[in-house]
Amino acid sequence: MNRILNWFRLRRLEDDLDRELQYHIDSRVADLIHSGLTEPDARRRAALELGGVTQVREEVRDVWLNRWIRDFVYDLRFSVRSLLRSPVFTATAVLSIALGIGATTALYSLLDQIVLRALPVDQPERLVLFDWIGFQYAETLGTDNLMSYPICRDLQQQKEFFDGVFCRAATTINFSTGGEPRLTAAELVSGTYFSVLGVRPALGRLLTIDDDQTPAASPVVVLSYDFWRNQFGGAQDIVGRKVLVNQHPMTVVGVAAPTFHGIDVGEVPSVWIPAVMSAQAIPGFETMLDRRTRWVQILGRLKQNVSLAQAQTALQPWFKAMLNEDMRSTNISSASAENRRQFLASTLALTPAPQGHSVLRNNLSRPLWVLFLGTGVLLALACLNVAGLFLARGSARHREISTRLALGASRARIGRQLLADSVLLAFAGGLLGVVMAPIAVRALIAFLPHNTAANDLQANVDTRLLLFAFFVSLLTGFLAGSAPALQAGRKSLDTSLRERGGTSSGGLALRRAIVTAQIAFTLILVIAAGLFVRTLSGLLVKGPGFDTSSLISFGIKPALNGYSGGEESRLIRRITEGLHESSSVQASSIALVQLLVGGPWSNSLTIQSGDRFTTDREVQMNAVSPGFFETLGARTVAGRDFNEHDSLDVALVNQSLPVSKNGQRVVIVNEAFVKRYFGGRSPLGARIAMGSQPDAKPDTEIIGVVQNISYRNVREQWEQAYFPIGTELSGSNFYVRFRGTPESAFRSIREILRNADPALPIVYFRTLDEQIDRSLNTERMLSALSSSFGALALLLSLVGLYGVMSFIVTQRTREIGIRLVLGATGLSAVWLVLRDALVMIAGGIAIALPCVWLLGRLVESQLYDVKPTDPVTILAATLVLCATALGAALIPACRAAAVNPTEALRFE
């Protein structure tokens, strides 16, 4: 440590030492003169006794700084000077490294924030997530790792394994402080949430067990620190204030610590509400205590001396007992034998959850790892490029290095000097990369889905990121520099000095190997880019199955503004009439479930058509108004659409099927459904029932078949069943086919909504084109990034190949000249050079293809309609690579053909 400090105060230390030694000499001289010597004799004697001032100074310097550090500092100084002398070389190298490090750092930043970083709570490593593996036989609200609230309360009793267990569910509420309400991200949490996480309040108090006892009895909320600062200006008297959550009065009891942003990096809540208030926070949700409704994620904190595996094993008997108890006490007994078997075969899994729970992470961690791997390959390419450049420069500096060796420098010392060059370059590149990284991160964040809840992602460069970039730069420097450094240490001095300028072999074999590796890496990246681009274009060509142009969708949630069922249906009717009258609206209709956002309503069906059978997997369902398919532009393949008589008054869609006014129940299915369950025969007239229970009555007639349209996302093609929408449904999604520009349509629809109710919460409002874009975010990110990686890789390896080929041509100028004199044609000279390039290219391809085969499994799940080993893509990518590589090799090759034999022979 002291020694590093010394480096900074070197000047002062040197001055001190000079004064000290001067004092010594002066005193000695004075003493010697005193004892009778003449002054010149005294001076000579004093200097002799000291053994040379310079020598002493050197030795003392070695005490201050390690010899190694000191040499390294000198090396760096020398490197700076020599690098500045060849600016083109330096700029190329620094830029390649900056690209590699910038990309890697940007991807690492996202990976760190979304996938790796632990929650800012006490001992996050002991947090675990509970997950039900198997068939829950429960209604679903939300996505990913859901369970019922009573299971959380059961788990809280398992005190010998856990310090505490909590549950949470993300939702959106209509939040108001008396003025205009706005949609706000909230988290419904058990009373144990804050205490188990170990979060402290910034103001007031946090939620406790007492706030989570009786349904509807605890109208209290905790605000997030940022929300308190932004919405309440950080008011000190916030505790005790009344606020309205979906028009229900509640009291603010506290503000959470500033560092705590919830447990989901993708959805940051502004407000925390006790789970017992779920009926108020999610209008129409009355089944909080139902064991057959799954809507919360459950997490726990392991006790200090309990391992995850121990807890998981020990919980299984309790879990099995619970399954049996559920079987007796809930409606599972009426399920089909197969479903009951699946239910009883369920197990409880515990997974480490130091990062909390995040749907964003579940969806993105695979793509992010794949991209991070891509940047790693890109960085390796940049390293190879710089190594190649160094080798080229090394052969140019050959004579300098040989001279230094001849003057007595050790080979290790020269190698270290070359290493200092590359480390310095790597740090310059790393610095530039770190400057570029935040820009890249910002662009990457724009690819991610965004909703009401903000995500917690930042484009800042923090210490972690700097450390990462530092180590990557160091590694890059060593990797790029080790090849030339080793090379420098190998050659025999004797032959080097005797070599003529321009004819040294300069590690040609090594440079060939480097270019071959570069071509292999590049081919891998280009193939990956091809696969992802084909995936995206395949999905875009497939589309959602309907015409998205001139189509707008919006969703309203009247219940969040205090509307009761009857009021809500009147409001929806008012809006529908407004839309019908508007001149900019061509057609409009309503769906119960929004399309293309991943949220499904699904269930098994029992089908009666001659024989009776149940669907082998859940069918996706939606309820729509008459004219829905026409509005979307989806064809009705057979039968008819719903009409006004099919529109019904039904509340519980899931329990029983809608009954029409004339007592007939009807359903429309899609082509995929017909294909899977009717083998292409006409299903019209067949009857179905909701669920797979033996006592289900198939009394709903299939009246139509519609073409396949996308439901959860563009990728998936699934069996679908559509029911006529009831009028007492909470929340509605409108689909509007408009005339004219989207802007004017947006304006007139907003006007209609304002007239209906100015304070109506609008959940979303966008064109279907934008909706598709959003649903393809990940694919878009993968294809855009992999394409740019591929292009950069091509560029880097072209530079490498071109460099080596030019070098080879220069080296063989004499030989080519002689061949030409002896009667070889220019064409054969070109071939002579190209053959070299072809060997490298073929070698690269031979290395890359098995790697593609191995890596394919990593990306398989991200692809659509194309296999990782798709021959067309691989062939196309190989052709692109060969064409560009040969192009790069052709320029030096032509130069070889143009060699003037006389000049070539005179050349040195």
């Binding site: 002291n2 030492l17 004092y23 053994g51 003392v60 005490v63």
Partner: protein, 113 residues
């Protein structure tokens, strides 16, 4: 003349410097003179190796240095022992005693035979 003096044994210079400074603070030249006097010109100290040693001891925190006016009126760099320097001196003296004691024992054994 130099041939009649012993070169100083390896590793003992540090101990001698610590010992001299344990009596009173001194500057580099002063220490050189003191070494010369007390060892009655028997032990030869290469003055050139004195300064690296001083700086090494300072680096280890056993000495502190201070610029003060010397007996000639000029500013000189005075070294003095720190607490950990005193401790180190005790340790080195102890091990020196043990070493010389052991060597003496071996000699005595041969003499008594």
């Amino acid at each position: 003349m130099p041939s009649s003096r012993f070169p100083i044994p390896q590793g003992t210079l540090d101990m001698l410097i610590l010992q001299i400074l344990s009596l009173q603070p001194a500057h580099g030249y002063g220490i050189a003179q003191r070494l010369e006097q007390v060892s009655k010109s028997v032990v030869q100290v290469n003055q050139g190796s004195l300064y690296p040693a001083l700086h090494r001891l300072e680096q280890r925190g056993w000495l502190v240095a201070d610029w003060k006016e010397s007996e000639t009126g000029r500013e000189a760099k005075f070294y003095s022992l720190t607490r950990s320097g005193q401790k180190q001196l005790r340790v080195e003296k102890d091990s020196w005693d043990r070493l010389t004691g052991a060597v003496q024992l071996i000699f005595d054994e041969r003499a008594s035979r």
